[in-house]
């Protein structure tokens, strides 16, 4: 396929990633966030597929399937189960969406600034897209800080993880397969554990508002 198309596809998927992240910051409904997360997973898988196609490596295609299965299907399912099994899915962020969006924009700019020295200014499309990965990481962190509900912290964590994956694929077309496997497994396990803990929270506190978790202090 032509470098032109390749470049366009890369930027399309990367753009989708960033866009979904921004939307997640904006939306308050947990269901919507989960859906957006799924879309993000798809975009990530797409990115991997494009890379694999370009590099002509079957391994990457397998990885893209793995990513698709994990990040676009499995994790969102797990999440939505948790979100759906109790009625209210409204997130009341500690920071209002407008401010969060502005922060997200600032963080994206920061990502572009900090990436320049490592990447050098090549016109290689993957290198140019790397900052988006970093931006995802930072935005994920922003979500972690600003969201009250346990589920939305999970979402933040996953966005962060997607960001790391993005960086991995764009800079190095992914880490060695075994490491990739281990990493994905770890992410899955973490999410499951957090699910269980959320469940217990539901039982203990009758809600999943993290502001209840301020018992332990000095």
């Amino acid at each position: 396929m032509s470098d032109n198309l390749y470049a366009q596809l890369i930027s399309l998927t990367a753009g989708t990633l960033l866009l979904t992240a921004a939307l997640i910051v904006w939306r308050r409904s947990l269901r919507a966030c989960v859906r957006l997360l799924a879309i993000q997973g798809i975009a990530l898988a797409g990115l991997v597929a494009v890379l694999g196609w370009h590099e002509r490596t079957i391994e990457l295609v397998l990885v893209s399937l793995l990513v698709l299965g994990l990040k676009a299907v499995l994790l969102p399912l797990v999440l939505s189960r948790n979100v759906l099994n109790h009625d209210d899915d409204r997130e009341v962020p500690r920071l209002n969406p407008t401010a969060s969006l502005i922060f997200a924009a600032l963080l994206t700019m920061l990502a572009y600034i900090v990436c320049r020295p490592w990447m050098g200014d090549t016109d290689d499309p993957t290198s140019r897209a790397v900052p988006i990965g970093i931006a995802l990481v930072l935005i994920g962190f922003l979500l972690l800080i600003t969201r009250r509900r346990a589920a939305s912290q999970l979402i933040g964590f996953l966005v962060l993880d997607n960001g790391i994956a993005t960086v991995a694929f764009l800079t190095a077309t992914g880490v060695p397969f075994i490491v990739e496997l281990g990493a994905s497994l770890d992410v899955l396990l973490v999410v499951l554990i957090l699910q269980v803990l959320t469940g217990r929270m539901q039982v203990k506190f009758g809600g999943t508002d993290l502001d209840d978790l301020t018992e332990l202090k000095d």
């Binding site: 020295p117 490592w118 993880d161 973490v190 978790l213």
Partner: protein
């Protein structure tokens, strides 16, 4: 000999398996001890091999045991033995300690894997696995507080480690740019691959930041006091004694790579700042501390800060002192947590002001607690004295005079705070009300032997020049680009 590379992992799996089966329930309590012994033995065997300058490495090259890894393996084994044996009573719960023991074994296996892995990716996976294995151990008490601690632990821990993964990814990218993609520490540490310095800089910084979270260095330490105070005593002992150390081991590995490429300044700066911040945080929060388990947790933060300073200083003296400190701190802190678990069991509280005149009322608990506190405060003959002095002198002599000066002030505050809290806890007469009705409780509420062994080892270890001294020396040689 190479078989010993797999012994710890296999032992851990077997232990986990035995624990999770219903029958025979009798073995269950001993799986942790068995695993620890296996780890310790293989650690010693590998150390012997390493001392014979014969580095074990598995066929795929993913596992490798140089002097440093073998030493860390010994530390894990020793500390784990103390914690599991000393805490052998602590596992009685609803399911007969099935999950508990299985998770302990898994935890030990993950840590062994982390130190044995030559591939940074595997090392990262293993360290993340420790988070997963300990998550439920922290939440084991199933109380609201335990749940809260577990949540904070998992979120903060995995986010931090994720950052570390970002660093490793960038490192991999750097090697890929240079044409030979690898994550093997051995290959990276040679320094002959022409890596893009800017990328390595970012990579190393992020990786160290991430692993520092697990190592409990400020300002990413926040999960530590909560987790340590809520987890069952042996688990706290394991986490404080070795989990932090294993994460710090990762930091050391990354540091040596970065130093090879960039020179020492970046890592020295980061570690010095982290160390000072940790000391400051520990000092500030120990002054007004009210809970003795949190007290121990913050003292771990302090000791990690001290190790960070030592690593920042580097040099033979600094690094050997750091490694010795890891061992001494592990043994002391795990014994302390075991004892504090027994105190909690006996007194039913972790608030210092509710436990008074411990020495007078419960000498069986007060005496070991005091001895261990003396060791923790860095008084001779315990090895922490030597390692602290070594670290501080190394830091000063290698041009970090001001950092050392600040550190000394903070250390004084920490010492004063710890001494005051210990005095409140242990000394003084028991209240009349108690002294009349309750007789003096001399029982040690659990096996004495592990504590005696651990503390006496800490007391004499510093005087053992051979083979420990030479092992430390070769371990440091590994870090400084040798081997």
């Amino acid at each position: 000999m190479a078989a010993f590379l797999f012994v710890p992992l296999v032992a851990a799996l077997v232990g986990a398996a035995i624990s999770s089966f219903n029958q025979p329930a009798a073995f269950r309590r001993f799986t942790g001890i068995g695993t620890s012994i296996a780890i310790l033995v293989s650690g010693i065997a590998l150390s012997a091999a390493a001392l014979a300058s014969h580095v074990e490495s598995s066929v795929t090259g993913l596992l490798r045991a140089d002097a440093l890894s073998s030493y860390m393996l010994c530390v894990i084994g020793a500390v784990a033995l103390t914690a599991t044996w000393g805490g052998i009573r602590g596992s009685g719960t609803a399911d007969g300690g099935r999950v508990y023991n299985a998770l302990i074994c898994a935890f030990l296996g993950a840590m062994s894997l982390a130190v044995l892995a030559d591939n940074l990716g595997i090392m990262w996976v293993a360290i993340e696995l420790t988070t997963i294995a300990t998550a439920f151990l922290v939440g084991h008490a199933r109380t609201g507080r335990a749940l809260e601690a577990a949540w904070k632990y998992v979120i903060l821990g995995s986010v931090g480690v994720a950052i570390a993964f970002l660093g490793i990814v960038l490192l991999y990218a750097a090697t890929r740019e240079s044409g030979s993609p690898t994550l093997s520490w051995l290959a990276l540490d040679q320094g002959h691959l022409a890596l893009n310095p800017a990328l390595v800089k970012a990579a190393a910084a992020l990786a160290v930041l991430g692993f520092a979270t697990k190592a409990g260095l400020a300002p990413m330490h926040s999960w530590l006091p909560d987790a340590h105070s809520q987890a069952p005593a042996p688990v706290s002992g394991l986490m404080s004694g070795v989990l932090l150390a294993v994460a710090f081991y990762a930091v050391l590995r990354i540091q040596s790579i970065a130093d090879a490429v960039l020179g020492p300044d970046l890592m020295r700066g980061m570690l010095a700042v982290g160390g000072l911040l940790s000391l400051a945080v520990a000092a500030a929060l120990l002054v007004g501390q009210r809970d003795y388990k949190r007290m121990l947790a913050y003292s771990s933060v302090e000791h990690m800060g001290l190790m960070a300073l030592g690593a920042a200083a580097g040099g033979v003296l600094g690094l050997t002192a750091v490694l010795l400190h890891i061992l001494g701190h592990g043994l002391t802190k795990s014994s302390l947590f075991v004892v504090s678990g027994r105190i909690q069991g006996a007194e039913g509280t972790t608030t210092i002001s509710n436990v008074r005149g411990l020495l007078a009322r419960r000498p069986g608990l007060g005496v070991p607690f005091l001895i261990a506190m003396v060791a923790l405060l860095g008084l001779p003959p315990f090895s922490l004295f030597f390692s602290e002095v070594g670290i501080l002198i190394a830091a000063w002599t290698r041009g970090m005079g001001w950092v050392t000066a600040i550190a000394l002030v903070l250390l004084l505050v920490v010492f004063a705070a710890l001494a005051r809290l210990t005095a409140r806890l242990a000394f003084g007469a028991p209240e009349e009300s108690e002294s009349v009705d309750s007789p003096v409780d001399r029982s040690s509420h659990g096996p004495r032997t592990p504590l005696i062994i651990a503390l006496s080892v800490t007391a004499v270890i510093a005087f053992v020049a051979v083979p420990l001294g030479s092992l430390l020396l070769s371990a440091v040689a590994v870090l400084s680009g040798g081997s």
